[in-house]
Symmetry: C2
Subunit: 241 residues, 2 copies
């Protein structure tokens, strides 16, 4: 069986198989080697994620390969970071609870799959101007329900949890802001990713997985590759299976 | 567990998670409802596919949901249809054997998963001029190794097998040729799909699945959707899980 990589997160994970999405790009990158399985839940924060964790990854959950997935990305915080007094207040999770929840999620995976790489991803930066054009929810006020500062606090908290737990982390909040014009180049509505933004996440994820020893060059391919098939005796490649 | 749809085929299936690919588009379309699992093997014909069938779908193979996948697409023939005397001759499979092999593949799935929809897809048309620019293999002759006529013969054979077996089929060979300028609009190298070509396959697949009773509107979502969560009492949605 081909091993798996699970993508666990909110809408930025759920939408990752849309055109140019980072999830689909990962699936293509690890073609013939890994099944990339998306478990993104739009609008969810870490509080809701904890409520469903055992449903999303039940006892009998199949990790492919030897039973455990190669890696799980955990990409929450964008909704937790909604301002507590904005119209996204029902999604808000206080910073200290966010840290606890994220810690609990990491602990769950560590216990379930001790050898699986758990890769935290911070929430992305927020383009506050872009948020006022958010097509998903009518914003009755003229104030964004998320700010870049608040997202930055949750990003720092995510990094702190990764350090505490000894797992790798991608600081996409910082990385993305290094791109000139990131507000519009990387974000379509101040929060969700454009194709450019998706590419940034994709590149960071494969880079981090590579540092963790997981790369398309070293993972075995499922069944003989075309390049390994002898044109003069094609069936030979299938004899030893 | 979320149910699965398997995509079984050659490079046109293997590459279906590249930018604009029909596999990724399916995964996005069935977001939160179905895991789309790609089992594409570049260069493979039905003879090679038969050799690996039990390896690709072993006894313990997980279909998600109640144990059987919702559907399997079977998309072979482009390589079988290589001319027997061209430089792709080692991939060629005679027409009568192609029919037998395809029949055996359908029988395998019917026996393994009696309730699973098996959806055959004919090979796409060939742009012979485009084949001479094929970047994958240096063509020493100045003749294409595939012709549109030969692909058409395999497409008709595929349709005949579907009729014999009583399973649905997408005649992508015919559908694609109805598009003005299909040679360049749908095919990047005379055989593989452009984003336009991918869109044609995607639309035909979701339409056929819909006719078979599988649509994103009727399949249940995995866990409460954001739209089902009460802003005044978000946790209520998770109590009954």
């Amino acid at each position: 069986m081909r091993p798996k990589i699970y993508l666990f997160g909110d809408s930025i994970t759920e939408f990752s198989f849309a055109d140019g999405g980072w999830g689909a790009a990962l699936a293509h990158h690890f073609s013939r080697r890994v099944d990339v399985v998306v478990r993104g839940y739009s609008g969810y924060n870490t509080r809701w994620a904890l409520k469903v964790l055992e449903r999303v990854f039940p006892e009998y959950c199949d990790g492919g390969g030897d039973g455990a997935p190669l890696a799980v990305t955990v990409f929450f915080g964008a909704n937790d970071a909604c301002l507590p007094d904005g119209y996204g207040a029902f999604q808000h999770v206080p910073l200290h609870e966010y840290k606890q929840n994220l810690n609990s999620i990491v602990s769950f995976f560590k216990k379930k799959w001790p050898a699986t790489r758990i890769l935290l991803i911070t929430p992305p930066p927020i383009d506050e101007e872009g948020r006022l054009l958010n097509p998903y929810i009518k914003n009755p006020s003229n104030e964004p329900e998320r700010t870049n500062n608040a997202a930055g606090d949750y990003a720092k908290a995510c990094i702190a949890v990764a350090t505490e737990c000894g797992v790798p982390v991608i600081d996409i909040w910082t990385k993305m802001q290094q791109i000139p014009g990131w507000e519009k180049a990387c974000l379509s509505d101040g929060l969700h990713l454009t194709e450019n933004g998706n590419r940034v996440v994709f590149k960071e994820v494969i880079q981090k997985l590579r540092e963790e020893g997981l790369s398309s060059e070293t993972l075995p391919a499922d069944l003989p590759l075309f390049s390994e098939i002898d044109f003069n005796d094609p069936l030979k490649a299938f004899e030893k299976l």
